[in-house]
């Protein structure tokens, strides 16, 4: 059974049909790429899955359970974590604090019991430290997140998402603005995450990264799915090439 399934998902904004009857499956522990020219609807699909938007029609099922109508924080609690296209961090708080917040479960008790959360907080803090070490960022753990260089900020976003112990991790253009070495480092880290049991859905414009690290790729154009295949097949797919011909710069390798 697929970990996540989209059935006929449609999203309309007023008169604009952003996403048109998408069917899609994501299987456990795979890295699935979601690509398409600008305006194809990738981020919209993304946002529908995480609950930022409610889809106009269709269903989204997580391990068979309907999540289409849930709010974003409820979906996060079900085990879907995400990063953002623009870098959203708690800028004035330390990197360590940012990751600790990711482990939301430690703060969930009512106010009256918040003092008993000390154990949970310390555990979260320890775990945050582990994650930072694994991402190679433990030296910057006390820096304000807003002062990190761009690449490390993007990594921090992923670390925060990882801290919430997700089953499915949605990455929205994680390597945007990074240089080649940073991209490789990040994508290798993503691969390691998969080996830890996390399923990855990757939206990216960087074709080299997508082709190299994704096992399967779904291609969207104008809100519709036009291909769903292995990277080699997608690369030579005529519809895909035609869709991108209007934006050739996206199809070159960085």
């Amino acid at each position: 059974m697929a970990l996540l399934e989209l059935k006929g998902v449609t999203k309309q904004f007023g008169g604009i049909l952003a996403v048109d009857r998408i069917d899609m499956q994501i299987f456990e522990q795979e890295i699935l790429g979601l690509i398409g020219p600008n305006g194809a609807g990738k981020t919209t699909v993304f946002n529908c899955i995480c609950g930022r938007y409610h889809c106009t029609n269709g269903e989204i099922l997580l391990q068979g359970e309907q999540i289409s109508k849930l709010k974003s924080h409820e979906i996060a609690k079900k085990g879907i974590a995400r990063t953002f296209q623009t870098t959203i961090l708690l800028n004035n708080m330390s990197v360590l604090d940012n990751i600790i917040i990711g482990s939301h479960t430690w703060g969930e008790k009512s106010l009256a019991l918040s003092f008993t959360n000390r154990r949970k907080y310390l555990r979260a803090k320890e775990r945050a430290g582990d994650i930072l070490r694994a991402f190679g960022m433990d030296k910057v753990s006390h820096m304000a997140a807003g002062e990190l260089p761009h690449g490390q900020q993007r990594l921090t976003q992923i670390a925060i998402a990882v801290a919430s112990e997700p089953k499915l991790l949605l990455l929205d253009e994680p390597v945007v603005g990074m240089n080649a070495e940073e991209i490789r480092y990040t994508m290798e880290a993503v691969k390691k995450l998969r080996e830890q049991g996390i399923t990855i859905l990757l939206v990216e414009h960087n074709m080299r990264a997508v082709m190299e690290y994704c096992e399967r790729i779904v291609v969207l154009d104008h809100g519709r799915k036009i291909a769903e295949d292995s990277p080699d097949k997608v690369r030579s797919n005529e519809d895909v090439i035609r869709a991108y011909l209007g934006a050739p710069e996206h199809f070159t390798e960085d």
């Binding site: 995480c50 974003s72 924080h73 409820e74 996060a76 609690k77 974590a81 995400r82 953002f84 959203i88 961090l89 708690l90 004035n92 708080m93 330390s94 604090d97 600790i100 917040i101 990711g102 482990s103 939301h104 479960t105 703060g107 106010l111 918040s114 003092f115 000390r118 907080y121 582990d130 070490r133 694994a134 991402f135 190679g136 960022m137 433990d138 030296k139 910057v140 006390h142 820096m143 304000a144 002062e147 990190l148 260089p149 690449g151 490390q152 990594l155 925060i160 998402a161 801290a163 919430s164 990074m178 070495e181 940073e182 480092y185 990040t186 290798e188 880290a189 390691k192 995450l193 830890q196």
Partner: protein, 313 residues
Amino acid sequence: MLPLITPGYYAIHTYTWLCIYWMLAASLRFIMLIGAVNFAHAGFMGIGAYASAVLMMNIHCSFWITFFLGGIISALLGLGFGLITLRLRGAYFFLVSFALCEIIRISLSSYWIGTLGGVTGISNVPQPNAVLGVEFGPDSLNSFYLAVIICSLVLISLYVIENGYYGKILKSISESEELCQSVGINTIKYKVVVFVIGCFIAGITGSLYASLNERITASDFTYSLSMFILVCVVLGGQEHIWGSIIGVIVLVIIGEEARSTALFEPIIWGVSLMAVMLFAPRGIFGFVTRFASLAMKRSSSSLKIGGDKQWLS
């Protein structure tokens, strides 16, 4: 200024009032921690005041019960209001709280005139009942001590909440609600809880005020009072609870000094506010801490991504 330092009626009177303002300022600032500027704060105080007064006078309830009931009733109203409105963005929430403040004022002065006293309000509100032989007369030393004790408890509680783990979540929500939601934090719930706590404190402040002042009218609790408290919070510095304390002191002093020059009071107040906003927006506390050492250690930012190249274990 001297009367404030020498013991006597005037000093006790003023310091008691400071306690009232401190509680209002600290609780308003607490609500502002989650990004909501509650313009109805004075209204919630009014609800507590009227509730306490009416219960004491009509069913002869003891102050020690009506004190909390005033807070609870305000908190309940805050709960209902907050659940509905806290998902609104900043400006809209501000406007709707403004509307609520007016609704409260109009309701208190125009309806149930028999019980609430209409425009003239309620006079001869009973003092706190004597307990363990301690009597609380009007403007008495004991009333002053009561105000100080309650105020201290409130301020300490708020400080503890803010600087504990709960406070860390609140800080995160105010930095980025979206990020918090994406990791599973139900931000609305936290906002409502904070709002309810703030309203509860406004309510008990009202109850205390009702008995200490002995009379209350709806015009005591208008948006002007909300605005005054808001200015105290911002002028003192939003970053720390001490800011609210300082802000109240400064504004009350200005008020006292200006009173001697009668008419000029609002203009001094207004110009001071403008000056602070233009030249020291972090308030007095922020201004002072600017010269203190920075809290965060800064390591060199030339670290490359990847650092030690450690993989997830």
